[in-house]
């Protein structure tokens, strides 16, 4: 197929190179982490992010395909959010990059809406029964993602140091942000 589409002018290796440059280098969870770290340190930005995720990300130069309309969900002591696409694999590419295989595989897609606590536990995330879990199934073109809670004991950290604590999994909702040094999940 590749060779036929190249012959027909519908594909070129420099197009493949562009995809590689964008999604294997430029775009990935580091961008989402930058947004989260800003939200942790700037309450006004956080308010804008929760009100209009797309516009707030654009302030930091972050936008693009599969993120035309982004909605950011705030985790609190009482509510924990998780994202999924049970029908295919919708995922907020501009802030998280392309999804890992487990996000696209049947196990996660079938189970997280049915038994979110057990799924979270498989990622090492124990969610107490009193915490309400909200699982967001991205069935339309809105792209949801999670603003994790800022870890305790991070008051003195810079925005860059905070961003290093924000993992892909914490923005999907299958993990918390990293603690400063002790944990490595």
């Amino acid at each position: 197929m590749e060779s036929l589409l190249v012959e027909k002018g519908l594909l070129s290796s420099d197009a493949v190179d562009l995809v590689s440059a964008v999604y294997e280098n430029a775009v990935g969870p580091k961008l989402g982490a930058k947004v989260v770290a800003r939200a942790w340190t700037d309450p006004d930005f956080k308010a804008r992010l929760l009100a209009d995720g797309t516009a707030a990300c654009r302030e930091l130069g972050i936008s693009g395909m599969q993120g035309e309309e982004m909605i950011v969900l705030e985790n609190t002591d009482d509510v924990h959010n998780m994202i999924v696409c049970t029908l295919c694999s919708c995922y907020p590419w501009p802030v998280l990059g392309l999804p890992p295989n487990w996000y696209k595989d049947p196990a996660y897609r079938s189970r997280v809406v049915r038994e979110p606590r057990r799924v979270a536990a498989e990622f090492g995330l124990e969610l107490p029964m009193e915490v309400e879990i909200r699982v967001w199934d991205s069935s339309a073109e809105l792209r949801y993602w999670v603003l994790p809670q800022r870890p305790a004991g991070t008051d003195g950290l810079s925005e860059d140091e905070l961003a290093a604590l924000v993992t892909r999994d914490s923005m999907v909702g299958v993990a918390q942000a990293l603690a400063t040094s002790s944990r490595s999940t």
Binding site: M1, E2, S3, L4, L5, G9, L10, L11, S12, S13, D14, A15, V16, L18, V19, S20, Y23, E24, G28, S63, G64, M65, E68, E69, T86, L87, C88, S89, P94, L98, P100, N101, W102, D105, P106, A107, Y108, R109, S110, R111, V113, R114, E115, P116, R117, R118, V119, E122, F123, V131, E132, I133, R134, V135, W136, D137, S139, A140, E141, L142
Partner: protein, 238 residues
């Protein structure tokens, strides 16, 4: 359609398998498949709804036993053949040639115009939101039921919420309607709502879904209004 892609709540898939330090693409061909989907979309072969419908038409057993980019390859190949962009015999011959010459690679090629259009696409387009003149039928807090009949073509009305009662949590404005867009029967934009379902309403009340909710985006014509008395009854039934 009532297909195996519609996975919410299906039992029996076992643990979630994570891969430490997973690469973005696991092989060169995945990168090429990803790119082909984008360039064929640029060419106008499909919009995302039509592309997803192509994936859903993959034979069920193959869907469950193949990888994500194999799904993509199936859909793009189907659409390219259906549209006459590629001939099925020509594709079979070329595939055989590369199987018999495994060391041969497709030579490098350059199409600056295609790269420019791809770059624009990656930067994002107008999305699926459309301006419509009518008013939204439902408001935040309204109690709604998802229509229960099965669709035989593309839909985003996931099986696990069909017939279930939930509450409108957010209104998203009007968006392209996937059920018609996938069939190239028009964008027919409709209002979309994030509808919240209690775990106890979706599933049997058990520890597995305790204190959980699912929120899913649903188009207006997927929904019908419900009065609160009916809601309470439905919740007590579970």
């Amino acid at each position: 359609m009532h297909g195996v892609h519609d996975l919410g709540g299906v039992e029996g898939f076992g643990p979630v398998v994570q891969e430490p330090d997973e690469p973005v693409f696991h092989d060169d061909w995945e990168r090429v498949v990803f790119t082909m989907v984008q360039t064929l979309a640029i060419h106008g072969l499909f919009v995302s709804d039509k592309f997803r419908y192509g994936v859903e038409q993959m034979p069920a057993v193959r869907y469950l036993t193949s990888t994500y980019y194999e799904h993509w390859l199936f859909s793009l190949t189907k659409h390219a053949i259906d549209a006459g962009i590629v001939d099925a015999d020509e594709l079979a011959d070329r595939t055989r040639y590369y199987r018999e010459h495994p060391d041969e690679v497709v030579p490098p090629s350059s199409r600056p115009e295609l790269v420019d259009r791809l770059r624009l696409m990656i930067e994002g387009d107008e999305g699926s939101r459309r301006e419509v003149t009518g008013e939204a039928r439902f408001a935040v807090g309204d109690v709604v039921r998802v229509l229960d009949h099965a669709s035989v073509t593309h839909t985003r009305r996931a099986r696990y919420v069909r017939g279930r009662v939930g509450t409108v949590l957010l209104t998203h404005g009007a968006h392209v309607f996937p059920d018609t867009s996938a069939l190239e029967m028009g964008e027919d934009p409709e209002f979309v709502y994030a509808v919240e379902f209690l775990g106890d309403v979706l599933w049997q009340s058990d520890d597995r879904s305790a204190n959980s909710r699912v929120i899913i985006d649903l188009w207006e014509s997927y929904l019908e209004p419900v009065d609160h008395a009916t809601t309470e009854r439905s919740r007590s039934v579970g």
